[in-house]
Amino acid sequence: MTQKLLEIKDLYAGVAESGKEIIKGLNLTINAGETHAVMGPNGAGKSTLSYVLTGKPDYVVTGGSMRFAEHDLTALKPEERAALGIFLSMQAPVEIPGVTTQNFLKHAINAQRKYNNLPELDAAEFLKLLRSAAKNFDISSEMLKREINVGFSGGEKKRLEILQLSLLQPKLAILDEADSGLDIDALKIVSQGVNQWHTKENSLLIITHHLDLLRQIKPDFVHIYADGKIIKTGDMALAEELETSGYKNYLDAAK
């Protein structure tokens, strides 16, 4: 039996400060184990969707509902959503000077374990876990000692995001442009990492412009997202078609 993980119903949301509406009547259901890809033209508000789902304070929900594993997401703080199992691989991971990567990761893991009433990992347990995971992403122990994202190349940042995915073991991973700025080797590392984590219990929402990542991860559903809602749903064939003919036909049809 399929199990609903995320259910978005008639969602309206916008920028908190200006009141500008960006998401306008979005519907999307993601069941456990499914992979969904959201594609769409620049400026359609794809990243906004990822921020609204994860509770970034710059955005405000003005209508509709978001439910995740029996929780009303709108009532939860960003860290609570994270601890319940929503992970966002960010398009541009921010630098945090002074905080080493491994110290950051230890805080993150233990904060989530604490929220879920699991015992916190001590330094030795954590380092063992971290080192074995880091190998898969070609991340050296030297890199783990550097300040998080500070002076990291684009590829290093993205690899670190996926390392976090594999450490935090979320139920739903949102990959926002996880493939941008990656060379072929790095893309392979990222997609292998995602595929390794991906099981029948957990789900993926991939936001992208490119087919490269989708060809490696193979989505069950491909959605075209424009003007704040999904205007067309298909499978990988739809993505392939977009690659050749672009969004224009669908955008015109939606008008």
């Binding site: 994860t54 509770g55 970034k56 304070p57 710059d58 703080k77 960003p78 860290e79 994270a82 601890a83 992970f87 966002l88 960010m90 991971p93 921010v94 945090i96 000077p97 002074g98 905080v99 080493t100 110290n103 950051f104 805080h107 993150a108 893991i109 904060a111 989530q112 929220y115 300040e147 976090q164 935090l168």
Partner: protein, 481 residues
């Protein structure tokens, strides 16, 4: 000597609840005049020479006026409304921890302070009952004495080692130095004396057990540390556990003398009562700290983590007199709510090849205001002197202020000076990134701030650093959202 009968008159008659009784009223009447100073000196059974010094300082103090150049705003101190001598207070004690202010207990728990210690800190039981402080002190002292180290209160030193005290007291900070130092020289009550003889390395951090014992050192603390040739000592001041302190004004002096090839490390964690959210109450902290590197190759480093006090005015300094001497200043200052701090250092280069390093990290939150004020002064003879200064400010929120005022005076052509300064803000993006990984906003701020201060925190002795880290988190509570 002719004044003596007068003292007796005062203590015996007018102040009949005064110095003759042991508990309740072991406190001088409010106000400051020569008689009060005689009283303090008599109460402490001081020798004539010290009383004379006190009186000289007092007479000079009368000619001075309070400095107003710091970027601080506070109600003027009424020096005649203060009492200048108070023995440990024996007010109505709480009967058990249940009677103690809950916020205080919360803080102790967050710092991980053992229950027994909590009881002592909050005044439920006497310190002696927990630690048997007398015997602890004696054990330490016996061990230190084996290597010739003197570690005692300044009052004891005056009696037992008058030649040392006479030689060094006031030799680094003369009573004429500044308004508050002058006041301290007239009325200081107690403090610590440390003497490390030639060739001796202190076998332990001094004053680690002071957390409790330092509870009632009083408003006008006086510390003197002398490190003879080839010696070493690391000295820790202060306590990491917050204590309710009723004293409004603190004006301390710390003097350090460092001879040839000797090294002194002086670490401070200061967390006196900062006042409430609206800036009511809190300690005024006007401190003069100075080290004289008199010998060649001598070295002194000041490390401080300051989270307390409503008003801070403090510039731990190094006089680099001996050739090749080194001065270091590592500082973390955190201000929140309505706290104000004007703090920094002075590096005075006199000898050849003298080097100094300044790392200052200021964190401002709430409606607080903070100024880094530093002086690097290089004399004409200080050939090849070097200074490196780094002043970083971190702002939390948009209602606080941070200011950097570095003074540089260089008269040596061969000197090399470097100065770096940054100001940054904890961004919403950084907080969201942390939260998205499951870290709560307040924990994220603590993580970022601790990262920002890391360079300084690493200079603190281990156990001290851990508690200081927790203290930073506590002092920033409520600074976001």
């Amino acid at each position: 000597m002719t004044d003596k009968p007068q003292i007796e008159d005062l203590s015996g008659d007018k102040y009949k609840y005064g110095f003759t009784t042991e508990i309740e009223a072991d406190t001088a009447p409010c106000g400051l005049n020569e008689d009060i100073i005689r009283l303090i000196s008599a109460k402490k059974n001081e020798p004539e020479w010290l009383l004379e010094r006190r009186l000289k300082a007092y007479r000079h103090w009368l000619t001075m006026s309070e400095p107003h150049w710091a970027k601080l705003k506070y109600d003027a101190v009424d020096f005649q409304a203060l009492s200048y001598y108070a023995a440990p207070k024996q007010k109505a004690k709480p009967k058990s921890l249940e009677d103690v202010d809950k916020t205080l207990l919360d803080t102790y728990n967050k710092l991980g302070i053992p229950l027994k210690e909590q009881e002592a800190l909050s005044g439920v039981v006497a310190v002696d009952a927990v630690f048997d402080s007398v015997s602890v002190a004696t054990t330490y002292r016996a061990k230190l004495a084996q290597s010739g180290i003197i570690f005692c209160s300044i009052s004891e030193a005056v009696k037992e080692h008058p030649e040392l005290v006479q030689k060094y007291l006031g030799s680094v900070v003369p009573y004429t130095d500044n308004f508050y130092a002058c006041l301290n020289s007239a009325v200081f009550t107690d403090g610590s004396f440390v003497y490390i003889p030639k060739g001796v390395k202190a076998p332990m951090e001094l004053s680690t057990y002071f957390r409790i014992n330092a509870q009632n050192t009083g408003q006008f603390e006086r510390t003197l540390i002398v490190a003879e040739d080839d010696s070493y000592v690391s000295y820790l001041e202060g306590c990491t556990a917050p204590q309710r302190d009723e004293n409004q004004l603190h004006a301390a002096i710390v003097e350090i003398v460092v001879m040839n090839n000797a090294e002194v490390k002086y670490s401070t964690v200061q967390n006196w009562y900062p006042g409430d959210k609206d800036g009511k109450g809190g300690v005024y902290n006007f401190v003069t700290k100075r080290a004289a590197c008199r010998g060649i190759n001598s070295k002194v480093s000041w490390t401080q983590v300051e989270t307390g006090s409503a008003v801070t005015w403090k510039y731990p300094s190094c006089i680099l007199q001996g050739d090749n001497s080194v001065g270091e200043f590592y500082s973390v200052a955190i201000t929140n709510n309505r706290q104000q701090a004007d703090t920094g250092t002075k590096m005075i280069h006199l000898g050849k090849n003298t080097r100094s390093k300044i790392i200052s990290k200021g964190i401002s939150a709430g409606f607080s205001n903070q100024t880094y004020r530093g002086l690097v002064d290089i004399a004409a003879n200080a050939k090849n002197a070097r200074n490196y200064s780094q002043c970083d400010s971190l702002l939390i929120g948009s209602t606080c202020g941070s200011h950097t005022v570095p003074y540089i005076r260089n008269r040596s052509k061969s000197a090399v000076l470097e100065h770096e300064a940054t100001t940054s803000k904890i961004s919403a993006e950084q907080l969201f990134y942390c939260q998205q990984r499951g870290i709560k906003e307040e924990e994220a701020v603590g993580l970022i701030v601790n990262g920002f201060c890391k360079e300084v925190m690493q200079k603190l002795p281990m156990e001290f650093a851990i508690e200081a880290g927790k203290l930073i988190n506590i002092s920033l509570e409520g600074s976001v959202g």
